[in-house]
Symmetry: C5
C-alpha cells in the first residue's frame, strides 16, 4: 500500500488570530468550493446543491436538522463569508482553513466546533492511503461540515438520511455529529485493516526467507502507522470529551453512542500501536536474520580460504625455479616420492582443517 499525504501548509508566520492564511503554493488547484445541503426531520427531507452561501443558509430551520457539506476549502473569501454569516469564531475559521490540525473540540457557547481526522484507503493498484481532515460546526438545528476534496466519505450517512425508515431522521444535530464522527473512525479502522493484512503478507514473505524488497516496504508501512497514530489518539480524546461535555447540543441520551465511539477510537489506537510493534519486531527479525545469513556466507569463505590458501602456498614453493644443482636448493624435487609425499601432507592438512571446522560447527 502506498501512503499519500495531501499537503497544504499554511503560508506565513504571524497572521493575527482569525486570519485565514493563503493556501500553500504547492497545493494543487482545487475546484471552487461547492455546498451540498440536506435538510431532514421526521416530516421529510430535501436536498440542494449550490455554490451560493445565501441559498444554503436560508434553508436552515426549514427542517429540524440542516446539514451543509462544504466541499473544497481553498477559496478563502468563500470560507470567510460563510464564517461571518454563521457567526463562526475567527479561531475556528482559522482551523477550518488549515489542514494540518489535530482532532479537537471547542465549545463556543451555542456552537460546537469539532475537527476530526481520518485515513481513507483508495482501492487503486497499489492502494493509497490518504489523510482527511473534516471540520464540523454544530448548532441547534444545523451542522456544517468542511472537507478538502470530493470524497465518498459521508455517503453512507447521506443514504441513511434519505431513507425515511432510519432512526437518524428522528434525531437531532448531536446524533448527526455522532454519525459523522463514527464514519471517520470506521474509515480509520478500515485503514488499519488494510495495513494489518499487508503486515501479515510481509510476515509470511519474510519468515519464508524472501527478503528481497521487503525492507523498504516495512519502512513505508511503519511510516503509515506512525501517521495513523497521530490521528487515533486525538480522536479518542475527542470522543471522550464529547461524552462528558455539558452542552444542550449533545444531550445525555447520546452518551452511549459517544462512549461507543470513544471505545472504537481506543480500539483503533490499540491496533495501530500493535501494528507498530509488530512492524518493529519484523524489522528486527529481518535485520538479525540478514546478519545470520551473512555469517553463513563468511563461514564458507573462511573454510575454503583457510584450507586452500596455505596449500596454494605449498605448491607455489615447489614451483620455484631455484637451481637444483646446488644440494640445498629444493632437493625434494628430485626425491622419487616427493610429489606423493607433498600431496599426502596437503591432504592430511585439509582433513585436519575440515574436522576442526566441523567441530567448531562452521560447516
Amino acid at each position: 500500500m502506498e501512503v499519500h499525504i495531501r499537503k497544504s501548509r499554511l503560508q506565513g508566520v504571524g497572521l493575527s488570530p482569525g486570519d485565514v492564511g493563503a493556501p500553500a503554493k504547492d497545493a494543487a488547484p482545487h475546484a471552487p468550493p461547492r455546498m451540498r445541503v440536506l435538510g431532514y426531520g421526521e416530516d421529510g427531507c430535501f436536498e440542494l446543491d449550490t455554490t451560493n452561501v445565501n441559498d444554503a443558509l436560508v434553508r436552515i430551520g426549514e427542517k429540524s436538522v440542516t446539514w451543509i457539506q462544504v466541499i473544497g476549502i481553498s477559496e478563502i473569501s468563500f470560507i470567510r463569508e460563510l464564517g461571518q454569516r454563521m457567526n463562526i469564531h475567527p479561531l475556528a475559521l482559522e482551523d477550518v482553513a488549515t489542514t494540518w490540525g489535530r482532532a479537537k473540540l471547542q465549545d463556543y457557547g451555542g456552537q460546537l466546533f469539532v475537527v476530526g481526522k481520518s485515513a481513507i484507503v483508495d482501492p487503486a493498484d497499489p492502494p493509497r492511503l490518504s489523510i482527511e481532515q473534516v471540520s464540523l460546526v454544530v448548532g441547534a438545528n444545523y451542522v456544517v461540515s468542511f472537507q478538502e476534496t470530493e470524497s465518498t466519505l459521508f455517503e453512507p450517512v447521506e443514504s441513511r438520511i434519505l431513507d425515511p425508515q432510519r432512526v437518524i431522521r428522528k434525531r437531532n444535530t448531536g446524533y448527526l455529529l455522532y454519525a459523522l464522527l463514527d464514519m471517520l473512525v470506521d474509515h480509520l479502522l478500515a485503514s488499519i485493516d488494510a495495513i494489518e493484512e499487508d503486515i501479515i503478507k510481509l510476515e509470511d514473505s519474510i519468515l519464508d526467507g524472501n527478503c528481497q524488497l521487503e525492507l523498504s516496504s516495512i519502512y513505508r508501512h511503519k511510516r503509515a502507522v506512525i501517521m495513523l497514530s497521530r490521528i487515533a489518539a486525538p480522536m479518542q480524546e475527542l470522543a471522550k470529551r464529547i461524552e462528558t461535555l455539558d452542552s444542550d447540543l449533545v444531550p445525555d441520551t447520546l452518551d452511549y453512542y459517544f462512549r461507543d465511539l470513544a471505545d472504537h477510537a481506543t480500539r483503533a489506537a490499540e491496533r495501530i500501536e500493535h501494528a507498530r510493534i509488530v512492524l518493529q519486531s519484523l524489522q528486527e527479525y529481518y535485520h538479525i536474520e540478514g546478519d545470520h545469513r551473512n555469517n553463513d556466507v563468511m563461514r564458507v569463505l573462511t573454510v575454503i580460504a583457510s584450507i586452500f590458501i596455505p596449500m596454494t602456498f605449498v605448491v607455489g614453493v615447489y614451483g620455484m625455479n631455484f637451481n637444483t644443482s646446488h644440494a640445498w636448493n629444493m632437493p625434494e624435487l628430485n626425491y622419487p616420492y616427493g610429489y606423493p609425499m607433498v600431496m599426502g601432507a596437503m591432504a592430511l592438512y585439509a582433513v585436519v582443517m575440515y574436522v576442526y571446522f566441523k567441530r567448531k560447527k562452521w560447516i
Copy 2:
C-alpha cells in the same frame, strides 16, 4: 507453540449503529448457533439444549439464575432476534457480532454488557494458541454468554453449577459473571504459563549455543506475547471497573471477588510484559552472540590470509621464468643457499605475524 488467530473481520464501513455486520468472507462456515440453558438456585437446577430462542427465554425466572450459553454467532438473524427479545441495546449487539473488540463494560441501566477476551492453548502437537472473545449480558436473574465456537472454556463452571454442594448455587448472577470472567483470566494465565515454559526452553537452547532455528521461534513467541498483551490490559481495567461499579447486579459483597480478579489480571499483564522483555533480551543476546561468533570467523580468515598470501607472493616471485643468463635477473635462483634463505625468511615472517596476532588476541 504455534499461534493461531481466528479471523472474522466485520465487512463494510458505514453501518448505522446497531447494524450487525455480515461476517467476513474468509470466516470458516460455522455451525448454526445453538443454545445451552442452565437454570439453578438453592432448590435445584435444570439443563436444556436448544436452537429455538423462545424455548430458552421462557425458562428465565424458573430458577433464581438462568445462564444461556449461545455458541456460534455467525447467524445474524438469530443474534438480532435474541437481542430484540432480551432488550439488548443495539450497540451491544454490534459488539457481540464483531470478534475483534476489546474487553469492555457498559451498564445499560438494568443490564450489564461485558466483553471479555482470553487466550486458549489447544494441546495439539505443536500446541496452538487461539484468541477467544466472550460477550456477556447480565440481568437480574439471567446471564447470556456468546461464544464463537464450541469450546471447553466454561466446562468447570458448568460442573460446579451441577454439583449441589458448591457455593455457586446460592449466589446471584453477579457471582456467575465473576466465575465466567475468572475462567477467562485463568485461561490467560495458563497460556502465559505455556509461553513461559517455551521461553525457558529457548533460553537454554540459545545459551548453549544451538542457534539454528531459534530466531523465528523467538519472533513467533514475541508475536504471541504482543497479542496477549492486548488482551490482558483491558481485562484488568474491566475487573477494576466492575469492582467499583455502582449497580445492584454486582453487590458490594462481591467486591473481594472482583478485586481478586483484578489482581489476577494484573498478574497476567505483568507476566506478559515480563515475557516480552525476556524475549527481547534473548533476541538481543542471539544477535550479539551471532556477531561475536562471526568476528571469530573473520579473525581466523584474516590470520591465515595475512600469513599465507604474502608468502605465496614470494614463492611466486621465484617461480618466474626470467632469463637468468642476464646477471640482474633473479640471481638468487643460482645461489647455493637461495632456497633455504627464502624459506627461512618466510618462516621468520610467519612467526612474527603469529606473535603479532597473538598479542592482539586475535588467536
Copy 3:
C-alpha cells in the same frame, strides 16, 4: 539545515537568588541594550526608541497599553536598574538574565512573569536554526519583553499595532501577551515545517539508495528535533497554565485564545515527536539497508573466492617442478590428455559450485 545554539551560560555557582550573574566568557560581545517603546490604545499610538530607562518608563500609562521591548540583556546594570524601577521580583530578574531557562509562568501578585522559548529558522544557505528565549513581564497597562538580540521575531505584532484597524488596538495587555506567545509558537511550527521538509528529502534520497552523506544529516536533524522537543513541551504547559490562571491580567474572555495557543503548542509537540520517530525509523532503515548491501558484497566475494581459490591451487600443483623422471612424480604431466582432463575437472567444479550458490540464492 544547520542547527545553531546561541550559548551564554551563567557563570558561577552560588549566587544568592536575585543576583544577576555575569554573562559567560564565551558570549559574543553584544551591542548595548536598547529599548523600543510602543504605546497604543483605541485613541492612537506612539513609538519611541531609546536607551534610557527613565525615558521609557515615564510613558507608561499614556496610552492604555505600553509595550517596552528590551533588546540585549548582556548589560547587567541596565537589567538591574529596569528591574528595580519596575518592581520586578529578583528571582524573575535572575531568569531574564539567564538564557538557558525553560518556558515558565509565575504570578507575582500584580505582575505576571512569563518565559517563552522558540526556534527561528534563519533562511541563510544552508538555513540555520537558532533558539530564542523571550522573557515577558506583564502588568495592568504595560508589557516588557526581553530579547537577547535584534530579530524580526515580533515585527508582525508591531505592524498590527501600528495599523489602527486591527483588533489588537482595543485589547488589553493580556491580549498582547497572547499575541507575543502566539508568535513564538508560530515560529516553532515554522521551524518544524522546515525540518519536516528536510526529512522528506532525506527519506527520498535514502530510499533511492543514495546513502553517501546522509547519516550525519540524520544525526544533525535528530539533534535539532531533540532540542525543539525541550521547547515545545514547556510551552504547551505554559499555555495551559495561563488559560486556567486566575488573574485580572488574563480575563476569561481571552480563554479561547489561550486554549487555541495551547492547542497549537500541542500540535507542535506532536509534530516534533513525530519527526523524531520518523528520523529514528529512517536511521534504522539506513543501518539495516547498509548491512544488507554489505551482505551482497560478501556474497560476491565468497562466490568468486570459493570457485577460484581451489582451482588456483590445482593449477599450482601442476606448476610444480618435481623431477618427472621418477615415475611417482606427477605422471599426469606426461599424459597425452592431462591438460584437457584437468581443465575439464575444474570446469565441472566451477559449474557445481555455481549451481550450489545459485540454489542457496547467493547469486
Copy 4:
C-alpha cells in the same frame, strides 16, 4: 551470581475461588509443614515448635502478640485446616498456596492479608539468587506468616523479640508486620547490592577489553534484574497502601515506619531500574566494541590482500610457460633488466597502496 527461581506452579485451570490447588508436579518434595510460635509482650515471651495446629492456636492471646510462623506450604490439608480455624478468607488461602503471586494487601475486616515478596542471596559459590514469597495474616493479637521453606529470613526479627530490651516487645501486631516487611525489603536491597557489585566487575572487565565470556553473564544479570523489578514495584505499592490504610491494626503512630518502608522500597525499585539501564548500556558497549574490533580485523585483511593479491598475479604472469621463441610471447623475460623492473614496479605499487590506506586511516 546464579539466578535460581523456585518453581511451583498451580496446576489446573478452573478451580473455584478458595480451592487450594495441588502443588505442581515439578515441585521438590517439601518437608511437612511445621509451626514456630512466638508469643511476646512487655511481660515476657515464649517459644514453641509444633506441627499441631491446635497446640499453636490455643496460645493466641496468652501474650499481647503471638507470631505463628508456618514453614512449608505444600501440604494442602494442613493449610486448609489452619485457614478454617483462623477464619482466613478462601481467596486469601488460595493466594497463600500459590507462590507465583505478587505483593498485595487485602483488608478482610478484622484481618489484614498481606503477600510480600523478596529475593535472597544464598552465599554459595557462585552465589544464588532465589525468590521468596511470604504471606502474612495479621489480626488484633496474632500474626501468621507462611513461608515455602526453611530460611534465615526472619531470624533477626526473632532475636529482637527474644531480647527484652528491644522496643518491639512493647509494640502491637502492626509493628510486627512492619518489622517483617522491612526484613523483606532489606533482603531485596541486599540482593541489589550483590548485583550492583557484579555489574561493576563486569564493567571493569569489559572496558578493559576482556570480552570472552561476558555476554552470557550480562544476559543472566539482566534476567535477574528483570525478575527483581517485578518484585520491587508491587512492594512499593504495598507499603504505600498500608501507610494510608484506615484500619485499627495499623494505627497512625506507625505511619512514619510504613512511610520509611515505602521509601526503601522506592529506593530498591530505582536501583533495580538503574541496574537494568546500566546492563543495557554495557551490552550495547559490548556489541559496538565487538563490531569495532571486527572492523580492525577486516581492515588488516583488506590491506594485506589488496597489496599482495595483485602482485601475486603479476609474478604469476612471468611464471607462464609461453614459448618465448615467438617474439610476442613474453619478451620481458629476456630483457637484461626485466626482473629488477618488475620488482621495482611492484614495490612502487605496494608503496602507493600503503600510502593510500594510510591516508584513509585504515592502518
Copy 5:
C-alpha cells in the same frame, strides 16, 4: 571527565529501625566528625568550630538562626549522641548515616528532615564527578546539616551569612533550608554543564570521523548521566513537596523561592534527560558509521579480489608444466600470439568487472 562514586554501603540486613549501621568495610577511614556552628540574625553573627556536641548545642537560641554543620558521619556514637540530644527521630538518624539514600522530606512535627543529593565536579585533570548526600534537620531556630566529607559545597552560603548586608541575615531557618538546597541544585546544574561541554566535544570529534577512543568515553558519560538522573528526579519532587508543605517552618512567603528551586530542579532533570538522549544518538551514529566504513573496506577487498583472483588462476594455468609435445596439452603456449591474447583477455575481464562494480556503486 571521570566519574567517581564514593561508596559506603550500610553493612548488614535486619537492623531494627533507628539502628545506625556500622560503616561499610571498604569506606576510607574518615577524619573524626567535627562541627562548624554559625549563629546569625539581624543583630550580628558568630562562628564556632568544635568537636564537642554540648558546646554546639548550647549556642542554639543565641541568635535567631543557628546552623550546625556536621562534617564526617562515620563515627556512629557521635551521630547517636547528637541525635538523642536534638530529639531526631531514629528513622531520620538511620537515613543520616546511610549515604545511598534518595532525596526525601519527612515532617516530624516540629522538625523537618530533608535529605538532598548533588553531584560535584572536582576540577582535577581529568575532572572527577562525585555524588554528595547532605541530610538536613530543620527546627524553629536551628538547622543541622550532615556531610560525609569536607567540601566547599556550602562556602558561598557561609560567606553570604557573614556579610551583614545580605538578605539572608533577616530570614528564618526555612530560608536557610532553601539556600542550602539551592546550592545543591546549582552544583547539579554545574555538573550537567560540564557533561554537556564534554558531549559537544565528543560530537565534534565523532562527526569529524575520529572514532578512536570515543566509545568508552560515550559509555562513561552515559553512566554519569544515568547516575545524575537518579538524583535530579527526587530533588525535583522534594522541592515541589516543600513548596506545598503545610508547616510553620516553611511559611508561604518562601513559596516563590521553593517554586523557583523546583523549577531549577526540573530544568536539571530535563537537561540530564536531554544529555542521555544525545549520548544515545551519538552512540548509534558511532555504531552505524562504523558499520558503514566497514562496508567500504569490504567493497575494496571484494573488488580487488574479484578482479585478481580469477586472473591469477588463468596465469596459473599457463604456468603448468604439462608436456606440450602432446598436441592436446596447452597448445596455446606455442601460439605465436598466445601471450598477448591471454593478456588481452584478462585486461578485458578486468575492464568489464570494473564497469560492473562502478555501476553497482561499489567503487
